[in-house]
């Protein structure tokens, strides 16, 4: 029987929610790793029982957990993330040079084909890979050594590599995004990288159309159209139809185009979801109403989705890795909030209901579709 498993990372532990294909009655297990910040958990597409989890605190640093049984039990694996070469400096908040220092793993992206191969996006920004199930980690240094590193700077959450997209049609091609450096692409398996930020305009940097320095919040892609990318930037919702070479704005009709999450429907590559946030100063929804906006036309038109979501006095945020979409026949959409709510829509966004209401602040949500 088909069903879903939702992996929820929070500021104070991880939770695993499961349901059958109706997605109405939920079982929630956890907290796992109570008290630790769980920035991200993600399962392997090649083996859904294999899950990687990023566990950290300011006191004790980074721990990596792995489950081989779908999140029932966990084993700590390797946590030694050494930059492959002398890390150098990036810009600090005030523009002065600041040494590169490892802080934590923001995002795991398991290989599409091998459960033992997984990529890690870390703060300070770099890309690591493990080919032994997380026991050991090697940096892919070509990204950090692109040459523009001294101009990268931290966003409010730190200088994090938060998005990793593997191209299912080309194993040599990968996209990543860094806040605040921008998006980058490799076409040779990670040896060399190209900034792909043409068309982005950011008022927060001295040259608003600069090659790097943009505060990209999240990027998504539908696997059937690997040349089409959708981006939620600090401000602006953007689209590229040439694998990131050029971007154009698709957010003008939104009530606000600031936000963090962006995701694409599992079966409709022109259907997008975002959660507009009022502004970079406030970090909560417009008018106290929690609204998901859906476009079924690749960004041309947008509609608010509100049924089942709080429409008054709601001042939570939805962070960049806290939305996910399942691939059941009627696709389900999930997101978590900094107020500890996790919502599910089993009907592509038309109606919503909470899976949980009172968890710690949600950092990440990843759904696995189980057959």
């Amino acid at each position: 029987m088909s069903g879903v498993r939702v992996l929820i990372g929070t500021r104070k532990g991880a939770f695993v929610a499961t349901a059958d294909g109706k997605r109405q009655d939920w079982t929630i297990d956890g907290p796992f790793f109570g008290g630790w910040e769980m920035y991200h958990l993600k399962g392997s597409p090649a083996d859904p029982n294999r899950i990687y989890a990023s566990q950290s605190t300011g006191w004790h640093g980074q721990v990596v957990q792995r489950s081989d049984d779908g999140g029932k039990s966990w084993t700590a694996v390797g946590n030694d993330f050494q930059y492959a070469t002398v890390p150098g400096t990036h810009q600090w908040y005030d523009g002065t040079p600041h040494p590169w220092e490892f802080a934590r793993v923001w995002h795991f992206e398991p290989s599409l084909t091998d459960p033992d191969t997984v990529y890690a996006g870390v703060e300070d920004a770099a890309l690591f890979r493990s080919v032994d199930g997380g026991q050991s980690w090697q940096e892919i240094p070509g990204l950090r050594e692109h040459g523009s590193g001294p101009n990268w700077q931290p966003g409010a959450g730190g200088m994090c590599l938060h998005t990793i997209i593997l191209d299912p049609s080309n194993s040599e091609r990968m996209f990543i995004a860094i806040s605040a450096a921008g998006a980058f692409r490799t076409d040779d398996g990670g040896k060399t990288w190209t900034p792909i930020n043409k068309g982005l305009k950011s008022g927060e940097i001295p040259q608003e159309e600069s090659e790097v320095g943009h505060c990209v919040h999240h990027v998504t892609m539908h696997p059937s159209r690997p040349g089409t990318l959708f981006m939620q930037k600090h401000w602006d919702v953007m689209r590229s139809d040439d694998a990131g070479d050029n971007w154009y704005d698709i957010g003008d009709k939104l009530p606000t185009d600031f936000g963090f999450v962006i995701d694409v429907h599992a079966h409709e590559p022109e259907t997008l979801y975002i959660v507009p946030i009022k502004s970079d100063l406030e970090h909560y929804p417009l008018d106290g109403k929690l609204q998901v906006f859906r476009s079924r036309t690749g960004g041309n038109e947008w509609e608010p989705l509100t049924k089942g979501l709080p429409q008054s006095h709601c001042y939570v945020n939805v962070l960049r890795d806290a939305m996910s979409i399942d691939s059941l026949d009627e696709s389900g959409v999930y997101f978590g909030t900094t107020g500890g709510q996790v919502y599910c829509s089993p009907d592509s966004g038309d109606t919503w209901a909470p899976i949980a209401r009172d968890l710690p602040a949600v950092l990440s949500v990843e759904v696995q579709t189980l057959s």
């Binding site: 008290g35 605190t57 006191w59 004790h60 640093g61 980074q62 721990v63 700590a76 946590n79 050494q82």
Partner: protein, 94 residues
Amino acid sequence: MVLPGHLKRLAHVEHEVEVKVEAATLASVLDAIEAAYPVLRGTIRDQQTGKRRNFIRFFACNEDLSHEPVDAALPERVQTGDEPLLVVGAMAGG
């Protein structure tokens, strides 16, 4: 040695942890602890530099040993096992 709560859970220990070392110094005790509990590598001191993590303190016999040389002998009562070496998470946050 007494570990802070987060690390007790991580290492799956409930009470004090005992290690036997030839010459008990901070460095040799931490080496022994990390050998016995590899999951603790990197959680008390940096794996690359060996430097104490910023929010970790070392106390023993009512003294703060956090800033002592890591190869200095630990107090005698710690060496004999009569007093524990405390690894403490610094007070931070509320």
